[in-house]
């Protein structure tokens, strides 16, 4: 049995973020209090999650527990569930969210009108709350409700920066997301009709009965396909990813970092939960959904990078690279083994740490070049903002999979996981091709920022990076190296988490 304090942490973390979001509009406008409140609340939740992780992995403790939301036990009331995987994911989400906010503090202040900054904080708090709820929830309908909060808040933090371009990007993102959540809703209704439950483990039991008796197979397949397609649209799996570069490329840097690093991951983790906890890997394999996901992941890995090659705007390039990285995660999910899903979760964590760093670095560099985002305009900016330059270099190395950097760890574990499956050749070929393609657009970017330019210093009148920026970048870099060098205990932890999922 777990101690009482740790037992209440999943509920407390969601509750703290919700209360922070609700209180923020009451705070004085045009002050820094809302931003500070958000940061402190997220930091508090991060500390709590770390403690939960410690408590769950403490020898002699049970590895996972359910938390009923109210006085009614499992099939009647809502429920939360926590295990090592949920704890580590919420810790990473909170840390990445906090660093995305602190790292882009000054660019947020420049991009967002003072009257809107308070609302930006409300939205960030709601987004964190919904991510935590998606991580911890054990109920499919609760997941749907929080997916909707996530959708509105995510589109709103794109539109928070003034301008017609962001409004258009946000609208496009919203329409695609709504199609996705519509499909998810239909699928949940179908599943409810077939099983009579909304809670994940009860649904799982009912589905196993259906499968063994071979009844309702068509509705079951269709609902699985619909829920996967809906969540795939929201997590920007390749053929449905056309909205991503607009939304991530035009918004303010903090929003881009949050959207790319975290919002996509919340939906992917929901897919993993549905595969693992609602259907079960055997049923997924029987309904052939693993093959579909695997192929889509493969295509996304290649096509995301191909699109990124054609970009001239550094933020859009990084955004398209997210599409490729989402492909890696889906490749891991599509392997349909515990090792594959553990590797996918590791890649979720790695990408949640690296992508916000890349966006923060790109923001710092384009700020140094006088708010220009074209790749050529960034020439020589490394020497103006060295921390941002280091961040971009480390992020690029990580994306290419250079040993010692975070991306290497997850690529290695994906490779190792694919050896157990029958599709190993395809997986290895795609991993190799995608890594080369990654190098083809990240290496030139690194060379550009490090090339001396005779007019550079005369032209760049940008202020020096703030202490907060340097500090956030330092933490990002540390995380990057930590994940790259000491990933084995983390991977073991994730595997344990996946096993009890």
């Amino acid at each position: 049995m777990i101690n009482m304090f740790a037992y209440n942490i999943p509920f407390a973390s969601i509750f703290i973020m919700m209360v922070a979001a609700i209180v923020t509009p009451l705070l004085p406008k045009r002050s820094r209090i809302p931003e500070k409140l958000s940061c402190y609340a997220i930091a508090l939740v991060a500390v709590l999650s770390a403690y939960l992780l410690y408590a769950l992995t403490y020898p002699g403790q049970s590895l996972s527990f359910n938390f009923p939301m109210g006085h009614f036990p499992a099939p009647w009331g809502n429920e939360l569930r926590a295990g090592p995987l949920e704890a580590v994911l919420s810790l990473v989400f909170c840390v990445a969210m906090l660093l995305s906010l602190t790292g882009n503090f000054s660019s947020t202040a420049e991009d967002i009108a003072p009257g809107r900054r308070q609302i930006f904080c409300v939205l960030v708090n709601l987004l964190t709350a919904s991510l935590l709820a998606l991580t911890y929830t054990n109920d499919l309908f609760t997941a749907y409700v929080f997916i909707e909060i996530n959708t509105i808040a995510a589109c709103a933090i794109v539109a928070v920066k003034e301008g017609a371009e962001t409004a258009r990007a946000a609208l496009r993102y919203l329409v695609m997301s709504l199609v996705g959540s519509g499909l998810v809703m239909i699928a949940i209704c179908l599943l409810y009709d077939l099983t009579g439950h909304l809670l994940m483990q009860n649904m799982h039991g009912a589905i196993l009965v259906l499968v063994t008796t071979k009844s309702y197979m068509i509705p079951l397949t269709v609902s699985l396909a619909l829920i996967t397609a809906g969540l795939a649209i929201k997590s920007a799996l390749y053929p449905f990813a056309s909205w991503l570069p607009d939304a991530h490329g035009t918004s303010t840097n903090a929003s881009s970092a949050i959207l790319s690093g975290l919002v996509l991951k919340g939906h992917i983790f929901t897919i993993i939960k549905i595969f693992y906890r609602v259907f079960g890997l055997d049923v997924i394999h029987m309904l052939r959904m693993d093959t579909a996901i695997f192929i889509l992941g493969l295509v996304a890995m290649i096509m995301g990078s191909v699109h990124a090659l054609r970009q001239n705007n550094v933020k859009r390039m990084i955004a398209w690279s997210s599409v490729a990285q989402v492909g890696y995660i889906f490749l891991g999910v599509g392997l349909n083994t515990t090792a594959g899903i553990a590797a996918a979760c590791l890649h979720i964590i790695v990408h949640a740490c690296v992508k916000p760093m890349l966006f923060t670095a790109a923001g710092g560099l384009s700020n140094a070049a006088g708010h220009k985002k074209g790749l050529h305009a960034l020439m020589g900016t490394f020497y103006v903002n060295t921390w941002a330059g280091l961040g971009l270099i480390a992020g690029a190395c990580s994306m290419m999979g250079i040993p010692g950097f975070a991306g290497f760890a997850s690529k290695l574990s994906l490779t190792l996981a694919s050896f157990d499956s029958s599709v190993v050749v395809w997986a290895l070929a795609a991993l190799a091709t995608s890594s080369v393609l990654n190098a083809l657009y990240y290496v030139p970017a690194v060379i550009v920022i490090m090339t001396h330019h005779k007019d550079a210093h005369k032209n760049f009148t940008a202020p020096k990076p703030t202490k907060l920026y340097k500090f956030s970048m330092f933490i990002f870099l540390t995380l990057n190296f930590y994940l790259g060098l000491f990933c084995v205990p983390l991977l073991r932890l994730i595997t344990r988490g996946v096993n009890v999922l």
Binding site: N8, V19, G70, H197, I447
Partner: protein
């Protein structure tokens, strides 16, 4: 060999300096030797000219027909997608458990407990109210949060920006993008007629009735159909009617942006705190001090009545807020 390497390096360097294509699709043009006979140049020029016209022609063709072809392709694909999805879903529906049958999988032990024990476990006569505000209260809390998120986002998009519009445009804009949104069409403002006697007379009669109706639906949410969401929607229509009959200024006097934010946030906060208490006590098996009351009484159902009032306040404010923001751009 050395020359070739140098060429590649130069091309790459040029690209880095921003005056060349990317290295992966770079074709290094062979440099013409300086002692080339003059007579060969026209031929060379001719082929280049020819290539250019082909490319140009392709571009022109693409400009004229590209959008058209894309539109046809897009329409065809969309229709195909829709047909496939609908036929798949029809096949699914045909296989689903039969309509209205009592032995369907959804009518299981969960429903039995909701109906048979819902009354004394939640204290609500309306089982749906007990379901959404007690058994599955976390979902409903999330739902109110969705409404709150949308209200805050719409307020951000329409409220603050348009009020600032006049002063941002008179100032020289720092961001070049602002300069381009000047040619925006003027907002259509609500023309308010002060002499609309019929509207005012009807409004003065019906507003109290609507308000009363809304309050009844909210307060009786645990006893009869209705509750915070439907009652709040009714209340908001009274506000909207008032705004239309007497002008937004009259509503402003008692309900403006600040009161909206304060009332919504406070109501949601009360909801969060009271439900948080109930979640906490439930999960930790602590006895909750909230009395359930007798079924059928107005003061019954534990937290359901106060929660319905909170939700009603949020919904009424938000729906009126949407109306005011969309028609006036202000609250």
């Amino acid at each position: 060999m050395n020359e070739e390497l140098k060429n590649i390096w130069r091309a790459f360097f040029n690209w880095v300096m921003g005056n060349g294509p990317r290295p992966e699709n770079e074709v290094i043009p062979p440099e013409p030797p300086p002692d080339l006979p003059f007579t060969q140049k026209p031929h060379d020029k001719y082929t280049r000219f020819h290539e250019a016209t082909l490319k140009e022609r392709y571009n022109q063709w693409l400009e004229i027909h590209g959008l058209h072809i894309f539109a046809i392709l897009y329409t065809g694909l969309s229709v195909l997608t829709c047909i496939v999805i609908v036929s798949l879903l029809l096949a699914t529906v045909a296989e689903l458990p039969p309509f209205g049958h009592e032995r369907n999988p959804a009518n299981n032990e969960v429903i039995r407990r909701y109906v048979e024990h819902g009354g004394h476990e939640t204290g609500a006569q309306n089982i749906v109210a007990g379901l959404i505000l007690d058994y599955r209260a976390f979902d409903t809390f999330g739902e109110s949060a969705v409404l709150f998120t949308a209200a805050v986002s719409v307020l951000m998009l329409l409220g603050a920006s348009r009020r600032n519009k006049t002063d941002t445009h008179s100032l020289p804009s720092s961001n070049a993008m602002d300069a381009y949104s000047i040619h925006a069409p003027p907002m259509r403002h609500h023309t308010f007629r002060k002499d609309d006697v019929i509207l005012r007379a009807v409004a003065s009669l019906s507003i109290p009735v609507i308000l009363m109706m809304g309050c009844v639906v909210v307060i009786n949410g645990h006893l009869s159909p209705g509750g915070g969401f439907s009652g709040g929607a009714i209340l908001s229509t009274a506000l909207i009617l008032c705004a239309n009959a007497y002008g937004f200024e009259r509503v402003h006097e008692f309900f403006n942006e600040r009161t909206f934010i304060v009332s919504s946030s406070t109501a949601l906060m009360i909801y969060a705190l009271s439900k948080g208490y109930s979640f906490f006590t439930g999960a930790n098996h602590i006895h909750s001090v909230i009395p359930k009351g007798t079924i059928g009484n107005i003061l019954s159902g534990g937290l359901i009545l106060p929660l319905n009032i909170c939700v009603g306040l949020i919904v009424a404010g938000t729906l009126y807020g949407f109306y005011a923001l969309f028609s006036e751009g202000d609250m």
